[in-house]
């Protein structure tokens, strides 16, 4: 029996329990965006000239772009001059040990349930924590160093491993890719960087925890992962934010590069503040995530559990360039109240014998709207490409909505592309059956939903799966009606 199968016992509180604000000393950039602000950020971070130039170029691209207008999202106009683009806990020097970290910050971690020490001891997870814009703590540096693995904050990488960053940044998601990618390229303040050398299997899960803390700020982290030939890494990211009435912008960019026979497993548990019951506040989560399977037989697997954010817009994608490359996308997206999620993936089959697999599970409650939007494109060059997509929606009541937009473009006759989709309502019959066996309605719902998502949850690393299931449970409370 799968022991992780049964984490359905303790029901928490319905309220967003990560909604506290930490009172730490912060340093801010002035509101708004212009070249001076970008220079300010770059200087604050002690960046080399090339980086400053790269940002400024991106800024020019961005200022010529128009914010996109998506049919399925009810997006309030964002005033980009009313956002603080840089906020960082003070002091900003790198911490050598936990003792040097602001005690208020440590309290935050405890509230988040991620006491770093505990993480270290129990799960052997190397962890980086990004609060607002600055990476606060990276654990396990030494162990990783011995293997030649680089895992550090983006700022540090720019300073210490400039060549690698310069070679790869923007190589998967160029600044001109889209409006939010351009914005991020101009103002990104931190994030994580990871390099796995040839033939090295990373011996532990690497993990970054993102937290928006300050009011009126946006978070623009940038993550870059390079897995060299024959390497392997499993990477996790988690996100939370305080409950605030205003909408906060989170526009991240994640780039993955995978060489011959290398594998990257990238998991996300996204729980940004979703706004209140009436749809007030919440994070706008507008993220560009893309992985490049550059090498032959390389593999990138995205797994995401999305329960937070007022608006989620993200399509973790795979460019399957190397022959025999594999792309996977496993997703659970839960929406409640007035949340809107528009998520899915893009699989670009370019190399021969490339395969992709898409499993998307959408759960809608309240008055929310939950869309899957996916593209499978088989290029002329992609002989014998294979794709399988499964998109299932579960509706908890009649007032929510689920939509599926599976796009397919096939330019090579040898391709096999399969798509299956289902929409189901949580039935009285099943609920009654469970209750007749002694389960409360809430437990029954939680069990049914966990069953519905099982295929995706099973892809999460163990420690994360526990957290993800708890989150799912919390988001489900009071959902039936």
């Amino acid at each position: 029996m799968n022991e992780t199968d049964q984490i359905l016992e303790n029901i928490g509180t319905t309220e967003y329990k990560y909604g506290f604000v930490t009172d730490i000393e912060q340093e801010f950039a002035p509101k708004g965006l212009n070249e001076d602000i970008i220079r300010f950020i770059s200087e604050k971070k002690g960046e080399p000239e090339w980086m400053t130039e790269w940002r400024l170029k991106a800024y020019k691209v961005w200022s010529r772009m128009k914010a996109p207008n998506w049919a399925h999202l009810n997006l309030r106009e964002i005033d980009y001059q009313d956002i603080i683009y840089y906020a960082a806990p003070k002091p900003k020097e790198e911490k050598k040990s936990l003792d040097e970290v602001d005690p208020e910050l440590l309290k935050t971690f405890e509230k988040l349930g991620i006491s770093l020490e505990e993480q270290k001891r129990l799960s052997g997870v190397a962890m980086d924590v990004v609060v607002d814009s600055v990476s606060v703590k990276t654990t396990f540096q030494k162990t990783l160093k011995e293997k030649g693995i680089i895992f550090c904050s983006m700022s540090e990488a720019i300073r210490e491993h400039g060549d690698l960053v310069r070679q790869y940044i923007g190589s998967v998601v160029p600044a001109n890719d889209n409006f939010f990618a351009a914005l991020n390229s101009a103002v990104f303040s931190d994030g994580s960087f990871c390099y796995i050398p040839k033939g090295v299997r990373c011996p532990m899960e690497l993990s970054t925890y993102f937290r928006i803390n300050a009011a009126g700020t946006g978070q623009f982290e940038r993550t870059l992962l390079i897995c060299d030939a024959g390497g392997y890494v499993s990477y996790l990211e988690g996100c939370t934010a305080p409950s605030r009435d205003e909408n906060q912008l989170h526009a991240a960019v994640v780039e993955l590069i995978c060489m011959d026979d290398a594998e990257i497993k990238y998991s996300t548990v996204q729980n940004w503040y979703p706004g209140d019951k009436d749809g007030k506040g919440g994070v706008y989560n507008l993220v560009t995530k893309r992985g490049k399977c550059q090498g032959n037989n390389s593999k990138i697997s995205w797994t995401q559990v999305e329960t937070g954010s007022a608006i989620t817009w993200k399509y973790p994608s795979c460019l399957l360039i190397g022959d025999g490359a594999i792309g996977e996308f496993y997703s659970v997206a839960v929406t409640n109240n007035y949340q809107q999620a528009d998520t899915g993936t893009k699989m670009e089959h370019i190399g021969k014998n490339t395969t992709s697999r898409i499993v998307s599970k959408g759960i809608s409650m309240g008055k929310s709207s939950n869309s899957y939007r996916g593209l499978v494109r088989v290029h002329k060059t992609a002989d014998n490409a294979r794709n399988f997509s499964q998109c299932d929606s579960l509706l908890m009541n009649p007032s929510c909505g689920a939509h599926t937009f599976p796009y397919m473009e096939v330019h090579n006759k040898s391709a096999k592309v399969e798509h299956e989709a289902t929409t189901s309502k949580i039935g009285d019959d099943i609920l009654f059956y469970c209750q007749q066996r002694g389960l409360s309605e809430e437990q029954a719902v939680s069990m049914i939903v966990n069953g519905f998502c099982k295929e995706v949850m099973d892809n999460l690393p163990m420690e994360f799966a526990v957290e993800a299931r708890k989150l799912l449970e919390i988001s489900l409370e009071g959902s039936v009606g």
Binding site: C434, Q435, G438, I448, F452
Partner: protein, 251 residues
Amino acid sequence: MLDIQNLKAGINGKEILKGLDLKIGAGEVHAIMGPNGTGKSTLGNILSGRDGYEITDGYVDFDGLNLLEMDPEERAQAGLFMAFQYPVEIPGVSNANFLKSAVNEIRKARGEEPMPAPQFLKLLREKMALVEMKKDFIGRSVNVGFSGGEKKRNEILQMAVLNPKLAILDETDSGLDIDALRIVANGVNKLRTPNNSFIVITHYQRLLDYIVPDFVHVMYEGRIVKSGDKTLALELEAKGYDWIKEEFAAI
């Protein structure tokens, strides 16, 4: 154990149970027979607390509890079990996980600690052997892809694991082959103790060859119109329901 007094209930304004009386003592097995559409499943649903019925009159006492006031899960926790005529499928939820949650919820309601995993697995294996269920069913999703007979057997497995005070078996025999019928009946007989009672809803005498009832009732038009011992079932098998309907019409 169970005392149903003058139960009147319906659905969508249509009266189905029209003043039903039934008393069941501890350790007794009662068979309920009767033509299609007379309200047998409805009775089971109402006793187990399914939503959507209007209860217009009557009282049901279950071991000193006012049954009709309780939530379905409270009834289950108090020891009432229903083996469904049409068991549902729960994708992605393993039999083991489902049953473990049920066992522990029931224990919790009784103020007991959750059952340790090894003990639970032992119990599950033991009961699976009782209903001759293959090992791989432990990890399979509840009823998903089960044959009709396997679903019924799974109901009996759940009953055996949960060990209820009162079990209602709604046509558990229909759709079973001869061997499965024997296995299911055997499962029930093993659970018969001076404390456990059963209501067995069936159309066929053959089940009652294996599960020998203490009482047989005929239900017609939402009421128990005739009661007797096991010989009543034989009489019905031989004569059909017409004589009952005639007797009823004469009243």
